[in-house]
Symmetry: C2
Subunit: 306 residues, 2 copies
């Protein structure tokens, strides 16, 4: 059977990695035995914790796909977050929960819903196609929803995500609150990373109208611990701004316990953050109270004010 590459976005997070595994399993169950779970970058600490806990192998690392390859995109639809040569591939399906950022010259299966996590949609699709959600698949789905919704506390959380977590915790036989907090904390361990690695961990290139930007997010249990590296982070950010010719770089340092973000902002359009949030940057930084979701609390507000 023809190979179908199934992958999420660059700088993979837990939703991207688990969705590629869970979507691949769904494809297999539906008869597409050529589906292969792939990833476009390194596994982060949180995902590593999950895969170790569940004893599941990571998807295959790829850098590109051959021309005319069949691909399935999960957890992203923007070509800028996808495989390098996406324009030469044939996209068979997209399952995602982000804004629409792609155009195609052909119709395809494109399923986007405004929920907190791709896995919440995949869980529905398993039910629609009458495919069994095994204990292992349920644990993968559950982990991603906990990750994307910060244990159901992010404003991106919908009733469907909450119900899915309850149903999946039962199938997976996991106490989701204890497991979830352990998992999130594992993700905040930055000790083994260089500054440059931290700045690429969960970086997304997002243009707010004409303002060419990168928004990076790191979760932490203590904002102050991260701010101890502030000088080095700023030097690293300025290097990226120059290399990528950016107008703006935002580093969201998100406190997963108290649900706030400290933002570190550099670039010539830094004042856009002040305008968008009504804050004053002091030494390039400000506290954004209650802000934890890049998608819901950064992208639309920054775009509107750009």
């Amino acid at each position: 059977m023809e190979k179908t590459y199934v992958f999420g976005h660059k700088s993979p997070d837990t939703d991207t990695i688990t969705s590629s595994l869970v979507m691949t399993n769904l494809e297999h169950e539906l008869g597409n035995t050529g589906a292969v779970a792939c990833r476009l970058g390194n596994i982060n600490k949180e995902t590593e914790y999950i895969l170790n806990y569940l004893d599941i192998e990571a998807p295959e690392l790829i850098e590109s796909v051959e021309d005319d390859a069949s691909v399935i995109l999960v957890d992203h639809n923007s070509p800028s977050e996808s495989v390098a040569n996406l324009e030469n591939a044939t996209i068979k399906k997209i399952v995602d929960h982000h804004k629409i950022a792609i155009q195609t010259s052909y119709p395809l299966y494109f399923r986007v819903e405004p929920v907190g996590c791709t896995e919440t949609i995949l869980f529905k699709m398993y039910k629609e196609f009458n495919v069994e959600v095994t204990k292992e698949i349920a644990a993968l789905m559950l982990s991603a929803i906990i990750s994307d919704t910060l244990l159901l506390k992010s404003p991106t959380t919908t009733d469907e995500d909450i119900q899915a977590v309850k149903d999946l915790a039962e199938i997976a036989e996991i106490d989701y609150e204890t497991y979830g907090l352990d998992m999130l904390k594992a993700g905040t361990d930055l000790s083994s990373f260089s500054i440059d690695e931290i700045l690429h961990l969960d970086a997304k290139q997002i243009d707010f109208k004409d303002v060419k930007s990168i928004v990076n997010q790191v979760n932490t249990a203590s904002i102050n611990d991260v701010l101890e590296m502030k000088d080095d982070l700023e030097a690293g950010i300025n290097k990226i701004i120059e290399e990528e010719d950016l107008d703006l770089f935002m580093l969201l340092i998100t406190d997963i316990i108290n649900s706030n973000s400290q933002v570190l902002v550099l670039g010539k359009s830094a004042s856009l953050v002040e305008k968008a949030y009504g804050v004053t940057l002091e030494d390039n930084t400000a506290l954004l109270e209650g802000v934890v979701s890049r998608k819901k609390q950064v992208v639309p507000i920054m775009t509107e004010n750009a």
Copy 2:
């Protein structure tokens, strides 16, 4: 409850009109009582036949929506085919079967599948949401699938469309072959239209890369009957090309009995049709054998060759 406008594309066809009715009913059943079925243009002869046959009122005609209005798009996603001020509205949902031609700054419910008709997707959604498909709703869905697939003969027809037609014919208690042919023939009656009206009946603005184009399609039981109006059609097309500053206008005259299209082509990029199909235009026209689907047999081939 807040009003939600539910509408299909400009130059409405049967799928667009019935999908706005069927989607609105689904919204009502799911509790969104503010949903209102709308349309962006006049009802065509085929759809008129269907609505008369089923004794159903046409959706409300609108020209624009107020700023910040909630809208649901069916059977299209391209802003150029949508309501004039779409950029100021909030799109709640999209259900469609065309290529992806929109970008948003927010996530939404976006459901596109590569099937022959929007109603085939809506039929699945009714089942997924456990909403009853009444006899009347089934007849609307059935009519649209027959229309878009030319009685299951168009290359856009998928197994899902075929199965849906069988299931829906049973619920609707309609002999779909007899009804379908009557319905399609009703749609080919051009006698009451002016040349200008014919040229706008099912016209879509589609840009093949940089080639600004309109592709219009009329169904007929006799290509020669339509070609009798050739001189007047050409004059009308040249007027539209000038007014809209087009590079290309294609009028597909589609023989629904023999499944071919005669194409009438004007505009400075007319030779693109010759290149794309390996034909020679004589007096601006050529027979495209086996071509009946604008979406599957025109858009991708023209785009690839542009």
